[in-house]
Amino acid sequence: MSTVFINLHNMSQYIPRRSFLKKTAIAAAGTVALPYILPSGRLFAASGNRIANHVVFCMFAGGVRNIESVLQQRGNLMRGCFNGSGGIDPAIAPGIQALPSPIGATLQSQGTLYKQFRYAQGPTGHFNGHSTALTGNYTLQDLNIKEPPRNPTVFEYYRKHSDPIQSAMNAWWISNALGPYPSLNFSTYPGYGSIYGANFMQPATLISQLGANALSNPKEFTSAQMQSVNDMRNFFNESFSRSAAQNGNTILNENSDKELIQSFLQNTFDTALAGGLNDPWNVGEQFMNDDMFNVSAAERIIQQFKPELLVVNMQGVDICHSNYTQYCNNLRKADYAVSHLWQTIQNTPGMANDTILFVAPEHGRNLQPNTITDNYGQLALDHTSDNTSREIFCMVVGPPDKVQQNQVINDLTGESIDIVPTIAHILGFKDAIPGGMLPGRVLTEALA
């Protein structure tokens, strides 16, 4: 959803100059004499200077080692992301499916690649890594996987501190799994929480046959009937003092947005039931895995709603705990997916040339393997907080006027906790976040 910012400078062209000067003087005097608390809790509106109006963060998660990604020691397994012509290591090649080539130039050439990024602190667990990437704070205390994070998520910062406050429709978290991941769309931090949370969807469960059986055949009401239903519901709600928002366990969309989202869900079910999601990218059904399906669902949201902030993850590579070659195979599929995601963004009016894409694993994997051998004689890898499991990459991709193109940063630069402040800087609300909440820094060297 492209946002048009009307600041004083822009407004001045619609008001006669004398009137404008007079009103500006009065407004300035009023600001000095009577500062007031904005709904966001701040005294003054944020500057609103944005670098781009959309950010998509693709968490290349599941635990990816730099050895197999940016260092390409088993060949270039990520042809959509990275430059490099190295063929796949013959030792694993028989276990790698022949995916179509990714479309377009590599993402690396369209942005800045940090080859020595770090997940520097905290256990190298998937939920810890996700929580760190989405809150901009390492999880150094006990992490309760049954509860939302203790620090505000990037979604809450974005919705609360943007000016004007943003609706939930503009913020989406698309997860490939349930478990603790649904709770990452808002935190328990006082003053933030569900009222600033993001829309969440886990497509693999929701858009399934079971989901279609239970949710795709609703009672239809005519618009006149819906008017009567809404009228009745309003009457019921007027005589009851509590609302769903007070549960604290749900985000809330605007009423008009609810209808759009329900329509989107229905359309997605209809498409899925007609077989339209079995192979949405025409790569061959045999290649589609959960990561690709999850990213394709995120693409549907991008095309439908053009959100300003969307985070999507993939975790198929975590099969590496027991099958190294399949890990490499899924790495290629995840690479294809993120490459396709970028193409979709560029083909979506309103987001093309106005979106910055972040790509980063949540953590790496160990240097030393465990004892499980796959069919190709390869030993599996866990992630237990050794130094190698803290080594990751990060890519910041965007149009040339917003992101440094074809830049590779080879030295030790950047951490997982830097992504949230950088997103905040890009979307123009960084300065409105109270000091001390985000220990990371803005990755300025990636920005044009």
């Binding site: 649904p182 009937q225 009567s228 009745m232 509590r242 749900t250």
Partner: protein, 167 residues
């Protein structure tokens, strides 16, 4: 002294007679009964939000008139977890239940044959309380003034209202 003795024996006799009288009294059997009482909860006392499992299983029972199976509860719980806006997912869930051929609601004819009774029963079923005068009157007007109003519409509106989410 003799007078005293007479009084003494008379007293003894009276005591014996009084005890013998008590001993012959027929025992009374008390039977305590409890009248049927409708236990309801005032709106202001509804402060606890239904959990996911409570919402799904209560909604299922209210629409189908039977207990949800563990298998179905498990499936619906996963679907519920897979979407972040619970108001939306509850809305979709209720609409799908209402569209089931096994939905067991009062028919539209039943609703219109005695609107007052329908409203009272529906409030008790869905809100666990009787409607107050204003609620009865207003909802009755809404039903009687609108020929297109159906029982499913009333259920849908009540089951997606804020009060239905609390107990």
């Amino acid at each position: 002294m003799q007078v005293l003795n007479k009084r003494f024996y008379a007293s003894i006799l009276l005591i014996i007679l009084s005890f013998s009288h008590q001993g012959c009294k027929k025992e009374t059997n008390y039977i305590y009964e409890v009248d049927d009482v409708l236990v309801t909860k005032d709106q202001s006392e509804k402060t606890v939000s239904k959990t996911m499992v409570e919402f799904i299983s209560i909604a299922y029972a209210d629409i189908f008139g039977s207990t949800i199976s563990q298998n179905d509860l498990g499936i619906l719980s996963l679907l519920y977890l897979a979407f972040g806006d619970k108001v939306i997912i509850e809305d979709v869930l209720v609409k799908n239940m209402l569209n089931s051929s096994e939905a067991n609601l009062p028919s539209d004819a039943e609703m219109r044959s005695n609107i007052g009774l329908y409203i009272k029963n529906t409030y008790i079923k869905l809100y666990n309380r009787e409607p107050n005068e204003l609620e009865s009157f207003t909802l009755s007007q809404k039903i009687s003034d609108n020929e297109a109003m159906t029982s499913a519409m009333v259920y849908y509106a009540m089951m997606t209202s804020n009060e239905y989410r609390f107990y």
